[in-house]
Amino acid sequence: MILVAGVGYQHLSDFSFGSVLVERMQEMEWPEDVCIEDFGWGPISILHWFEESPGRKFERAIFAGAIERGREPGNVYTYAWLSDKPDPEVVQERISEALTGVISLENLLIIAQHFEALPPDTTVIELEPVEQGWGSDMSEAGQQRLSETIQWIRNDVKARPRSNGNGRKEVRN
């Protein structure tokens, strides 16, 4: 199975990129082995979700959301999530934010990585936001990137061969 998950808040213009993306994708036809999920939830709840089936079945995952990193606004960046163990102090900091209700793509990746919940093949798609205020409308560039990103994901899930087996370890609790 391939997990495609969008992370973000609703009604926060370009910061809703991940949420809007999965909303659109869920209205489309996808191969049976592609699971599309809205991960606009606290990372600890998602960690618990990963503990359960169908989380155990995923061989690959694609996470999408908007993150402000000082890059060219309106651009989309993709990269393979690093497999190194994150710094424990950073993990605890992000868990603290997660426990107090913060929804964040990066926090989710760091926390899930620490607890070895991520599939071994994890890709991240980030939009550098243009509009950051309240509102249901994304920027023109953000909207354009939505369609492009969906196409990119479609190509990616078709083109890339499945890895053999899962390889992730169980999450401790």
């Binding site: 600890i44 960690l47 605890q92 900091e93 934010e97 107090t100 209700g101 620490h114 609790n173």
Partner: protein
């Protein structure tokens, strides 16, 4: 006497009235009597003079947040030679503005919009909004609707408390932190037998502290699992967590069967043994630190002024009216109350409501003009600073310690800073002895006896005693015992639900219409960490004012019109610096323990000025950076 500072007295029938011999009765010229709990603070000029004369302490401007998510910053100036805190300031860095979002809306939206005020206790805000709406538009939920709401709150608290005790505050007492900040205490811990080893299974305090380590300690990981258990049960009624989908004015919209109740019980009963262990662990931690150094009693010490609105309604008594709020309030599983200097001064919801004022002298808001209501719906006097009269008028500006420096307001009760706490609800309930009779919880006047049923561990009676000192350790100990208290309220609630099912009284909501005209409503409730109120005003079915007070607004408040600091600020000012690390490795662990003991519901950053520079720490996280 209920009020010492507000000129409100009571007639022979107990009805409150405003004294007529006081000019400008709600003016702020007179300084309030703080019941011996006054806090001596240095003025900003004195602090600056001190900083100037001690050239090695630098005055710096710095960004109050280290990360985007930091919603609360805490600043202190510390004298490491004298081992004391000279200045403390609590800064809420984000404006959230739910009061403004609610303006002009249908009151039924409040349940879903205000839920987003918190990412942990969203259900509390949903429920409190439902209560305010019910009072405003006149709906009485059926008993089963009330029982299910009570259960939702129980389950939300059972999620909140373990995560605080073992994932946020717990690591402050872990091996990794104590080895660095107080090696002498770690050494003592390895040699000290744990008094409750037979309950929690740790032979020594050192072993216990090792399992408190962040990320790797088994107590940390167990708490992570327990939050899931509570969430699963919550979702059976609420549909989802933390923002339930089934809360409606007049009850809940969930269909609940015997099977649902059994699913809930299967999860609730897991907390009975967990509660025994949690209380034993925190008893041992608190007593160990007190024995190791009695000055730990001063860490986070504040006057014993606490306030709570009570929670968990009697399904037969709650009628959603303000007229009867004193009666139905006192029938709650947790009794409403105000504690002043350790003494319970009222259990009446009306009195708690009348005494509450919100000041904005040091907050990023403009004063509002006029006073919409001189009295409450029963004719009792209301302050112009009361939430029903307050208007939210944000005015963003640069922080200035002499003037305005935070987005939090200064809620005060009878003009005193209060502590909003889950322990407050145990304290008021223990002291008042009004809670309904039940087989599991017994208030004695000075304690709460909690009879936890057998699970894998045998039946056990715990006793939480009203503490003789109010500090960071007692806040944490109280929260640990509150797991037991909450689980037992859950058990009582579960029995009530089963009984109603047996009687066929399974309606979960009431029909209603939103009336025309002007209506007032207030939701009196509480989050896992304490006091939550929503005050609502409607005009022809539209919200014309909405005011929310949360426990963190109360605790994180800045100085008030009389210069009295808020509770976080007082707690830090009273905290002795007992940390024993080298000056260039100073962590500020004692200040962090004092702030964290309040269970701040915001990601919070501390900044501590020392003669070695500024130490910056996330206060909501553990202090695991201490082991760098």
């Amino acid at each position: 006497m209920c009020f010492k500072n507000l000129p409100v007295e009571f007639d022979s029938e107990g009805r409150p009235y405003l004294r007529d011999d006081v000019r400008d009765p709600y003016g702020t010229e007179r300084s309030p009597d703080l019941n011996g709990g006054s806090i001596s603070t240095l003025s900003r000029d004195q602090i600056e003079d001190l900083l100037a004369r001690n050239g090695h302490i630098q005055q710096k401007n710095f960004d109050p947040v280290t990360r985007v998510a930091g919603a609360l910053a805490f600043h202190s100036v510390v004298d490491l030679e004298e081992r004391k805190v000279l200045e403390s300031r609590s800064v809420a860095t984000l404006f959230r503005g739910y009061e403004i979002i609610m303006m002009g809306r249908d009151p039924r939206d409040a349940i879903y919009i205000t839920s987003r005020a918190c990412g942990v206790c969203g259900g509390t805000h949903s429920g409190t909004a439902a209560l305010a709406t019910e009072m405003a538009i006149g709906i009485r939920p059926p008993p089963m609707g009330i029982v299910l709401r009570n259960m939702l709150s129980v389950l939300e608290y059972l999620l909140d408390m373990p995560l605080h005790l073992f994932m946020l505050a717990g690591p402050d007492f872990s091996e990794n932190v104590i080895r660095k900040t107080n090696p002498e205490i770690w050494d003592l811990a390895t040699r000290t037998e744990a008094p409750h080893a037979n309950v929690h299974g740790y032979a020594t305090m050192g072993e216990l502290m090792t399992d408190m380590n962040a990320l790797s300690g088994s107590l940390y990981l167990e708490a992570l699992g327990m939050t899931r258990v509570a969430k699963e049960a919550y979702a059976l009624i609420g549909g989802k967590f933390p923002h339930p989908q089934t809360m409606v004015p007049g009850g809940v919209s969930a269909t609940v069967s015997i099977s649902t109740m059994n699913e809930i019980y299967l999860r609730l009963q897991q907390f009975f043994d967990y509660a025994k262990k949690t209380a034993a662990i925190y008893d041992d931690i608190c007593d160990f630190f007190y024995d190791a150094n009695p000055r730990y009693r001063d860490v986070g010490r504040t006057p014993a002024n606490l306030i709570d609105l009570g929670v968990w309604d009697d399904p037969e008594a709650y009628d959603a009216t303000y007229e009867n709020c004193n009666e139905w309030g006192e029938k709650r599983w947790a009794t409403p109350g105000a504690i002043v200097d350790g003494k319970l001064v009222t259990t009446k919801l009306q009195n708690i409501n009348l005494g509450m004022e919100e000041f904005i002298d040091h907050s990023f808001y403009e004063e509002w003009e006029g006073q919409a209501f001189k009295t409450d719906p029963l004719g009792a006097p209301l302050s112009p600073h009361h939430p029903w009269n307050k208007e939210t008028k944000p005015r963003p500006q640069a922080p200035n310690w002499r003037e305005k420096y935070t987005w939090s307001t200064s809620p005060r009760w009878d003009r005193m800073p209060m502590d909003a706490e889950c322990t407050a609800r145990m304290w008021t309930t223990a002291a008042a002895q009004l809670m309904p009779e039940n087989p599991y919880i017994e208030p004695t006047g000075h304690s709460l006896k909690l009879l936890l049923p057998a699970g894998r561990m045998p039946e056990m009676e715990l006793e939480w005693k009203i503490p003789d000192v109010w500090n960071a350790f007692e806040r944490d100990r109280g929260r640990a015992y509150c797991v037991a208290y909450t689980a037992l309220v859950g058990l009582n609630t579960w029995h009530q639900g089963m009984e109603l099912m047996k009687e066929g009284r399974t309606d979960v909501s009431a029909e209603y219409k939103v009336p025309k005209g002007q209506q007032l409503g207030v939701g009196f409730w509480g989050a896992g960490r304490g006091y939550v109120s929503h005050h609502m005003m409607l005009d022809d079915g539209v919200v014309t004012n909405y005011q929310i007070i949360t426990p963190s607004t109360i605790n994180a408040s800045p100085r008030d019109p009389w210069g009295t600091p808020g509770m976080y600020e007082i707690a830090a000012l009273n905290t002795p610096i007992l940390e024993n690390s080298a000056a260039d490795k100073f962590q500020g662990i004692d200040i962090q323990r004092s702030i964290r003991s309040f269970d701040p519901c915001m990601p919070c950053t501390t900044h501590v000025h020392t003669d070695q520079g500024v130490v910056t720490r996330e206060v909501n996280t553990c202090a695991c950076g201490a082991d760098d």
